[in-house]
Symmetry: C2
Subunit: 229 residues, 2 copies
Amino acid sequence: MLKFQQKEKILKKYFGILRKCSLFSEIEDRHLIAMLSCLGAKRVSFDKKYTIFAQGNSAKYIGILLSGSAQIVRHDYYGNRSIVSGVMPGELFGESFACAGMEVLPVSIVANEPCEVLLIDSGHVLHTCTNGCEFHRRMIYNLMRDLAAKNIMFHQKLDITAKRTTREKLLAYLAYMEQQTGKNEFEIPFDRQELADYLEVDRSGLSAEIGKLRREGVLDCRKNHFTLL
Amino acid sequence: MLKFQQKEKILKKYFGILRKCSLFSEIEDRHLIAMLSCLGAKRVSFDKKYTIFAQGNSAKYIGILLSGSAQIVRHDYYGNRSIVSGVMPGELFGESFACAGMEVLPVSIVANEPCEVLLIDSGHVLHTCTNGCEFHRRMIYNLMRDLAAKNIMFHQKLDITAKRTTREKLLAYLAYMEQQTGKNEFEIPFDRQELADYLEVDRSGLSAEIGKLRREGVLDCRKNHFTLL
DNA sequence: ATATGTATGTTGAAATTTCAACAAAAGGAG
DNA sequence: CTCCTTTTGTTGAAATTTCAACATACATAT
């Protein structure tokens, strides 16, 4: 009983986050705790740089990031890292693979800083109470919206990485960030090496290009803070 | 009445295709015609090289390719073409944008050869009979699976295009095709220019690389038919 | 403040891509 | 078959990326 109260308390701490989570869109707070319990949601913490899901692991879990930040990364045969995207609090991860019925993950999800994560067995979302539970139906709809949004994200990423030069990729990315934030000044969620691994270019070449654009008066930056001029 | 019979007849011609379409998974033939009518599905034909949906068009339609083949392409400000993926009969297109609620399409869908297409207003799939119609619920679930599968497709494409050299991209693509077909010999759905636009590389460089790999005894190819040795 | 480790910037050489231009091959139309 | 168009292959020069190595800046802990 005490344990349940604690659990409630802990989860209430994250209501603000869970409310914004696409999986629970249009689901009222008063139903949320019961749902989470029904879904068998488990809260887990990870230290900075810890791998939350590893490439090759079972793909049956869906994660919800409660706090911190993470990245979806892929390592090829030679160990080259490619960063697919970042994950911010309230966002789902792993849902594509679970929903597509993949056995194992083709990517890893890595904690960027200390993270708290809610893990849900995808079977509980996809395969239970098929006959009518309103919440369940809503979750399937929400998942559909979420997956469509992820698809758009991939289109946007392709728009950036399809460019042929480091300069064009960088400018396309910064233009995208400007459009997203609505400001010509913003923080990017990557350090230099990470930005290079996201844009699929060489880090030193990227640094050189940033320096050149700065000298040309196109942009200014201090660490992760970029300004387009 | 005659018109309806014709419509039935025409659609029956494509039952084999529609049965395989992810949107209608687990929906029985006897319900299909009524559903298509209810969804306001319209059959349209397109000549080779015709643009089925154009970048910038309204994103409210979902397409089902009935015959022929098409490609999802994007043109940037300078007119550079990038091929996102191919579309084969029975596959959906445009559903990501409709389901994500985008206003306009960020890509075009172009007929590769004469095509027949079934167009469905996404509003009829997403926003009608929210209270219980079993078919409708099933379609949402099917869309969710389809979108998850498209997501996986993007991951696979990133796996290929994240490689840094033409040679690596080409070999990654051919390895993927080998895995898909289960054979070391297969036809690719692209001519040279299209393959280059799919891999995001220069066509002449690609031709040169194919020639080099052939001389090295790694592969053989005649037109679109590739053999890995 | 110093030391230590990490992140970022810089450089030059080697490898690769792009680009333009042309040659060769393949396919269609008359 | 020939002409014409499209596709594919080839080439060399210019631009760009990658790679390795090192220098500098920054952050943190002692």
